[in-house]
């Protein structure tokens, strides 16, 4: 699996984190697994890339300067074409009930708590993509 071939054709993922080190680690880890990754370092950049990348899944950091993750998620989920399909996973340092409510309000599908281990992250990505496949199939 290490030699990521283009043949597998995994769905594109957009990774959004203002911390470049974090974003890089996530990107490398998922790229090795064959996912086409695009990185954005701010909410604005993520929204700008959204229509061109057409990600199947977005890994979205909550705490960012400028547009935070909640706002970005809301805007993405409101997109007339892409909003219905895209799965948004919030990456959050907080694990409070209220944050999960907030996440539901913005239309997020799942979340990962920081600090996360990469295996958990990959598992979360996988189960969301699997969910998306079944949703699209039905």
């Amino acid at each position: 699996m290490a030699a990521a071939g283009k043949k597998a054709k995994l769905p594109p993922i957009l990774v959004v984190d203002d911390n470049r080190d974090n974003a890089d680690i996530i990107r490398q880890y998922l790229e090795i697994r064959g996912y086409p990754i695009t990185v954005a370092h701010s909410g604005e950049e993520a929204l700008a890339l959204f229509e061109t990348v057409k990600p199947a899944l977005v890994l979205l950091d909550v705490m960012m300067p400028g547009r935070d993750g909640w706002e970005v998620c809301r805007v993405m989920k409101q997109h007339p074409q892409l909003g219905k399909q895209v799965r948004v996973i919030m990456v959050t340092a907080l694990n409070e009930l209220d944050d999960k409510r907030e996440a539901l309000q913005t239309g997020a599908d799942d979340y990962v708590e920081k600090p996360f281990d990469l295996a958990t992250l990959a598992a979360t990505v996988q189960r969301n993509l699997a969910m998306q496949r079944t949703a699209l199939a039905s």
Binding site: G5, K6, I37, A48, L97, R101, L104, Q105, D110, Y111
Partner: protein, 556 residues
């Protein structure tokens, strides 16, 4: 697509074969060091295919191409180059040795992806926002400023304009009960139905325009065409009632009669005449305000009529009760029933509407008493021994001195469902009343848990025997992992506190399976049973039930 150029530093003939698949394309070759410089000079360049392993040259090429908004495909010799290509945001990459089909496909993909230059990015965000300001993304309808601009010319020519203000009264209630996702869906249905109606009914659709107010109201402009008289009041009234029926039918067929029962439109209208001395926008805004006020006036008259309906219902005991089964998640056996009070009068069918009217008319206690009495009648006639009866009570009811006095023969079979939609003002006193009821044998359920009204803290405060999860947590829970996590938390909390969790509003098999797997104890919803009238006695054992399902095994 003619005369497009693929610029490359590759000498491999596979490039020529790949480009041959592209209509009207040709290949231009430059050595790697000159590739970047060639981007600006070779005309018609639409894509660059770069294969150099030199990081500096690669960077220069990609940056140059992006500055000119040209797509780049990077041929990668190894993992390092591939990483670099991604880092540089090349549109596409292929591993060296790819065949011509693959390369053609990559070039295609790169072209469709071609990212606008960095400066273009912020423009794009702004454009998206700008579009959002012009059209509501849910309904696809234009916003008011857009509509004013569109009608400006026509209005000036014709000299008059009719504004219709549609006040969809209980849409906010739908959101409160079922969550924002439901309201979004209902708004989409409404807008689609409105558009459909306009397409079908108006011979000249441009004459009637509709805009969405971002909350739950719609505004129509009717500018009569030249030479055609403006629609008369009679015609407008007739059109409005047809539209109302059309939208109501649509909502009922898509979202069910519970939601349709909440649906009500009040329409106000205002006639605006063009006056060159006054700014056109202001004329229109005033017209809208006038129409909105007219709608409100009609709403008030309607309400007065409903209060009268309620008074006569109370006098005639015009309330009946539907019993909605609550079943074990694993065996699907009936555990108890929730009593749902409904008005006999059509205008008061929905309990939400009935209680809303009662609250305005200060008849809450009386209505609650009647509903309770009606519900409790079923305890001996409809329910079988051992089955529990869940009845809804409002925190207000506990202040009613009559409540709980000799109303029930066997309080142990009664569960009081408490919602916190009405704020509890005097908590210590409320808890004291609860304790008294508990001593009599009543049990308690927290209704709508997780809806934002009842957090875990307040749930702990009430020490409930049952926790009823809000419908907004259950709908589509099979696809949303955050909802699953929240429900899991609730189940754990309930298990720790000796309570049982009830999932309400289970409408689909997937939802049923999911809540079962999460360890939810009891389930209620249309998927298993619809609420039934109490007129006929309850089914006898062995009778076939609705929607038989395979057994669910709990994992939690």
């Amino acid at each position: 697509m003619h005369n497009s150029v693929l610029l490359t530093d590759s000498t491999d003939a596979v490039i020529d074969r790949a480009v041959a698949h592209l209509d009207g394309w040709r290949v231009e070759r430059r050595p790697s060091p000159q590739l970047a410089a060639a981007i600006g000079t070779v005309e018609e360049t639409r894509a660059v295919y770069v294969c150099t392993n030199d990081p500096t040259l690669l960077r220069a090429t990609v940056e140059r191409a992006h500055a000119a908004s040209i797509a780049v495909v990077v041929e990668c010799d190894d993992e390092a180059v591939r990483r670099r290509a991604i880092e540089l945001r090349a549109e596409e990459w292929v591993m060296r040795g790819a065949n011509e089909t693959e390369i053609t496909a990559r070039i295609h993909a790169a072209l469709t992806r071609a990212v606008p230059s960095a400066a273009g990015m912020t423009d794009r965000v702004e454009r998206v926002e700008y579009e959002r300001m012009l059209h509501d993304s849910r309904t696809g309808l234009p916003t008011l400023p857009v509509m004013i601009e569109r009608s400006r010319q026509r209005f000036k020519e014709r000299g008059e304009l009719v504004v219709l203000y549609f006040n969809f009264v209980r849409y906010s209630k739908i959101e409160e009960i079922y969550g924002w996702e439901k309201l979004d869906a209902v708004l989409e249905t409404t807008a689609a139905a409105v558009k459909e109606f306009l397409d079908d009914s108006s011979p000249n659709p441009a004459r009637l325009m509709v805009s969405f107010m971002n909350d739950d109201d719609f505004i129509f402009f009717h500018v009569p065409a030249t030479g055609v008289p403006a629609a008369s009041d009679g015609e407008i009234t007739e059109m409005v009632s047809r539209l109302q029926r059309h939208v109501a039918t649509r909502i009922e067929s898509i979202h069910g009669d519970e939601i349709a029962a909440l649906f009500d439109i009040y329409v106000g209208r205002a006639h605006v005449y063009y006056n060159p001395k006054i700014r056109l926008e202001r004329l229109i805004y005033r017209g809208i305000r006038e129409a909105a006020q007219a709608a409100r006036g009609i709403e008030e008259r309607e309400r007065a009529r409903k209060v009268a309906d309620l008074r006569s219902s109370l006098r005639d005991r015009g309330v009946y009760v539907d019993y909605h089964p609550i079943v074990h998640a694993d065996t699907e056996e009936i555990f108890g029933y929730e009593a749902l009070a409904r008005g006999v009068m059509r205008s008061l069918r929905s309990p939400e509407v009935m209680f809303e009217v009662a609250e305005e008319a200060d008849l809450i206690w009386e209505l609650s008493r009647l509903c309770r009495q009606r519900a409790l009648e079923g305890l001996d006639t409809y329910l079988r021994p051992g089955e529990l009866l869940f009845i809804n009570v409002d925190p207000h009811d506990f202040t009613d001195p009559v409540f709980g006095e000799k109303e029930v023969s066997d309080p142990k079979r009664v569960v009081l469902e408490i919602t916190e939609r009405t704020a509890i003002k005097d908590y210590p006193k409320f808890r004291e009343r609860l304790r008294a009821f508990r001593e009599m044998g009543y049990r308690f359920a927290v209704d709508d848990a997780g809806s934002g009204y009842a957090g875990l803290g307040s749930i702990a405060n009430l020490e409930p025997d049952f926790i009823k999860l809000d419908i907004s947590l259950i709908s589509a829970i099979d696809t949303n992992f955050i909802k699953q996590n929240l429900v899991e938390t609730m189940v754990k909390f309930a298990n720790d506190h000796g309570a049982m969790v009830i999932a309400e509003g289970v409408e689909r098999a997937e939802e049923f399976l999911t809540v079962g797997n999460l360890g939810v104890h009891l389930v209620q919803g249309f998927f298993l049973h619809k609420p039934a009238h109490a007129t006929a006695p309850q089914h006898t054992p062995g009778e076939q039930r609705v929607a038989p399902l395979r057994a669910v095994t709990k994992t939690a």
